[in-house]
Amino acid sequence: MHELSIAMSMVEMATEECRRLGAERVTTLHLKLGLLSGVVKDALLFSYEIACEGTLLQGSSLLIEEVPARVYCPRCASEKTLESIQLFACPTCGELTPEVIEGRELLVVAIEIEEKPQVAEAIA
């Protein structure tokens, strides 16, 4: 189970970005998670909550976009989505292929931040 250390890296990245932007807190983190990343979604969601405690991300939500495994099929000469990562074969022609194009992602795509309410206060 390495999801906790991965969640901590995500929180660190988001915190750094939040500080750089001078924002108050992070409300949502958007993550792309490939099926071949070796990271388990449920374990990551569980670890994320723990990793966020006491940080600028406390109470934030983690939105995970799962990325299926895509391979290149030399016989069809095109990209295909694997039906299962237990079988690296083209779903159309059955050719076995080791060429992975997509599916290893572990990528923080974006964060949603809340700005400090200084401007609003100034107007009031």
Binding site: I6, S9, G38, Q86
Partner: protein, 224 residues
């Protein structure tokens, strides 16, 4: 209340590890040392195979060394040291895998140019090591006959990120009704084209082929 704002980040979570692994790979290339890592479940025979490997390759005159990762104890390092090859232990504490930073720390100022092959034995774990590049040139995944032939289907990611599969404890294959053809088929399903070898450290069967494969990857030292 201010309205949340969406900001694009697009950063790989393992960026730090990947960058470090890249710099290690360059250091290995500059020293012309081949780096081979072993991954498997606990008890698949990594240490036994590595001990045998270190001893046999030393006898052929190659300079070999090993880094060995474990959660606790330095028992494995002690076992490997019997081969007389230099061995360093990485005790990870509670961490279930090696990462590039642990490898870098353990290497310290080790003169890699004096070596032909450096072996890295990962912590026994079929899941987490697959996410971490250690800068190695060759990743060998071990599958022992006693684990069953369906392991590749249960852990496709570790097979998919490895370069060579070695089936160990072949001397026990008949005792546990191990279906070698099924194991080979399962490996090809999750990593088409993967080189697969069978060995028994106990009887020595298949070891020559396996050592030949490793030696075939040893880089030619550039003489200055």
């Amino acid at each position: 209340m201010s309205t949340p704002r969406l900001v694009e980040v697009r950063q790989n979570v393992l960026k730090q590890n990947d960058l470090l692994a890249r710099s290690l790979r360059k250091r290995f290339a500059d020293s012309a040392v081949l780096v081979v890592s072993f991954v498997s479940t606990p008890g698949a025979g990594k240490t036994a195979l590595l001990e045998h490997t270190l001893r046999s390759l030393r006898e052929t005159g190659l300079q070999v060394a090993a880094l060995v990762g474990d959660l606790a104890t330095d028992n494995d390092a002690d076992r490997l040291a019997r081969s007389k090859a230099p061995v360093r232990q990485i005790t990870t504490g509670t961490v279930c895998h090696l990462d590039a930073a642990m490898v870098e720390n353990a290497l310290g100022d080790w003169d890699l140019a004096a070596l032909d092959i450096l072996f890295i034995e990962n912590v026994g774990n079929m899941v987490c090591p697959s996410s971490y590049d250690l800068g190695e040139n060759l990743r060998i995944v071990l599958l022992s006959t006693t684990e069953g032939e369906d392991k590749p289907l249960k852990y496709p990611t570790i097979f998919n990120t490895s370069d060579v599969a070695v089936i160990t404890k072949m001397d026990l294959a008949s005792v546990v009704d191990f279906d070698l053809e099924a194991a080979r088929t399962n490996i090809q399903r999750v990593r088409p084209g993967m080189t697969t070898l069978e060995v028994s450290v106990k009887t020595g069967a298949g070891i020559t082929n396996y050592l030949d494969l490793i030696v075939s990857h040893v880089k030619q030292k550039v003489s200055i």
